[in-house]
């Protein structure tokens, strides 16, 4: 789960990580009042959306007076902000963060994450702040320092010193880095973060360290023990269909093709997209109905798939293990009846109670194309979507 920059900074502040003063605003007037209260010569008005590259897209602007902050806020609020992470349609900006301007001497990069290869926590640090870190990794890998942390021992002082050296900090700054990193580490572990990224981390003219930006992702699997974090979810930032799927415990990702998919299991669901592509078609979505798929869930899944107007055919691909094919078949028949599905339906049932399931479909009198193998399922669904 992602949160906004202003929420990340609230958490940083609560843990003692140094951040500039700032306030959230949802109207230009609020932005002006915030800039006045901050009282610094320069303030920064920053669009609050879940996407990187906001500055380049025109979502971050410097203001030299409260009136100018008001003007920038009025430009940014309500805009469709397009960045390299939003897609061409952009994201509607509903909130801005008004922040005190900082005197920047150096821009650094800092992140905490779980390194999948070593299965340890890792600090990633670089002197090349304010840039796309993936590009830094590609072009100048020697400018990236990775410090691995044993999750059962935790971040040690000597490791902070190594990071300070890699960041070319002087002795007083290194001391500040210790407070800074220890606080971030506590936040990472106590709140089950999956990524903390500060880009840039700045050294000010006075030699202070400040988190100028803040990106925080949390482990969805751990939200059950962090109701305070779960509450930070901003439904406006999520794809509407993905959110609806989440609410009924289905995994759904919208794509831009014409064959709607309903599958049990994430691996088979991904493979079904691949099958459709191999057969010359294009999938409209990824949908994993999960191990507990039953009649009600099948119906909800159909509703979700049918919200997409590009869908010209639906492929149901079930390999029953825990899931029983006869229950899925009942769900398909019930949903087809209740929802009045008008696009062609191709159903492939294998595994537990597959024969019973196929019988239910055959006896339903509905116009359902049955398939035995994955190959047949793909071919028939693609042909149906093309109107063949």
């Amino acid at each position: 789960m992602n949160v906004h920059e202003y929420q990340a900074k609230e958490l940083f502040r609560a843990y003692g990580v140094a951040v500039p003063e700032g306030e959230l605003a949802t109207t230009p007037a609020e932005a002006e009042a915030a800039a006045k209260r901050l009282g610094t010569a320069v303030t920064v008005v920053k669009a609050q959306v879940h996407a990187g590259g906001r500055g380049k897209g025109g979502g971050v602007k410097l203001a030299k007076s409260p009136a100018e902050a008001q003007q920038h806020a009025s430009d940014i609020l309500g805009m469709q902000l397009v960045t390299h992470q939003t897609g061409p349609e952009g994201k509607l900006v509903r909130k801005v963060y008004v922040e005190a301007g900082s005197d920047i001497a150096r821009e650094l990069y800092l992140a905490f994450t779980l390194d999948r290869a070593t299965e340890d926590f890792a600090i990633i640090a670089s002197t090349e702040g304010g840039m796309d870190i993936e590009q830094v990794a590609e072009n100048t890998p020697d400018k990236i320092h990775t410090e691995f942390i044993d999750p059962n021992v935790g971040l040690q002082s000597f490791q902070v010193k190594k990071v300070a050296r890699a960041l070319e900090l002087d002795a007083p700054q290194a001391k500040k880095l210790e407070t800074f990193l220890m606080a971030l580490y506590r936040l990472y572990v106590e709140k089950d973060a999956s990524l903390i990224e500060i880009n840039p981390l700045v050294v000010t003219g006075d030699g202070d360290l400040l988190a100028l930006d803040g990106k925080l992702n949390f482990d969805d699997n751990a939200l059950f023990r962090h109701p305070d974090i779960a509450e930070m979810r901003d439904p406006d930032e999520e794809d509407e269909r993905e959110r609806a799927a989440h609410e009924i415990d289905l995994a759904y990702v919208g794509l831009d093709g014409s064959v709607g998919c309903m599958v049990n299991g994430a691996g088979l669901a991904m493979a079904t997209l691949d099958m459709i592509t191999v057969c010359g078609g294009s999938p409209a979505n990824f949908l994993d109905a999960g191990g507990g798929a039953d009649k009600e869930k099948v119906k909800e899944a159909f509703k979700l798939i049918l919200r997409d107007e590009n869908v010209k055919a639906i492929l149901v691909n079930i390999f029953g293990g825990i899931v029983r094919c006869d229950l899925i078949a009942e769900g398909v028949v019930a949903a087809a009846g209740e929802l009045g599905i008008e696009v062609p339906l191709v159903v492939r049932l294998q595994g537990t109670n597959a024969a019973e399931g196929r019988k239910i479909l055959a006896e339903s009198g509905l116009d359902i194309t049955s398939a035995e193998t994955l190959q047949e399922a793909g071919e028939r669904a693609v042909a149906a979507a093309k109107g063949a």
Binding site: A266, L268, F319
Partner: protein
Amino acid sequence: MAILANKDTKLLIQGMGRMGQFHAKLSIEYGTQVVGGVHPGKGGTTIDGIPCFETVEEAVEKTGANASVIFVPPPGAADAILEAVDAELDLTACITEGIPAIDMAKAKRAMRGKKTRLVGPNCPGVVVPEQCRIGIMPAQITRPGPVGVVSRSGTLTYEAVDQLSRLGIGQSTCLGIGGDPVIGTNFVDALALFEADPETEAIVMIGEIGGSAEEEAAQFVKDHMSKPVAAFIAGQNAPKGKRMGHAGAIIAGGKGAASDKMAALEAAGVAVSLSPAKIGETLAAHAGLK
């Protein structure tokens, strides 16, 4: 032989809730020796003929169990894994989906140098055809034979096994290693076990997007494997930055794409199937099996 388990495996069920009980029954029907269950508050009772205990330690003392399967819900699952490790079981397979990554990172570190092998979490378990069923796989689709199957997925494993069985090619062991970022047994571990198993002649591995386990497997095949390997990578058409159902299935930071994994495997001499419908045929052709 086979790997990880056989007809002599004595299995405990950790978490005798609805799902644990249901799959215990199926495993017993398949011929597995299910010797006990562990569930808080159920110690001293018997469920469907299975004696239940409060701790794994006591269950091992009383039954001689050497393996377990974990159905404990996410908040207590890492604890259950460490309890199995503490009791020095040979094998524990964790079926639970949704364990916090930090819990798993800590548990995995704590397991270093210990005797117990962990399979999973977020996996379907292990089946040795006609000998032993640990977990939730539909064992009826398997048949005994020379092919080892290892996969990050559940239902896609069934698909691959079904393709092999339909071609008349049986399996030595079918193993789902799980879709999470931190797992106990990875591809390299499984490949090494299959390479050393005299009953396994060829291997099917099924990967997916995210992480670099397939690339590491490719390197291992190149350096250490004499047996033929066929592979399929799910998610060739997955968009970047989106989690595809599994916690670990995400192309992030320009890493983990299917195309990179397929190229690495091909370069290592692995026969890679483009189509998920041709996994069995690809293996048969590559290994000269029919």
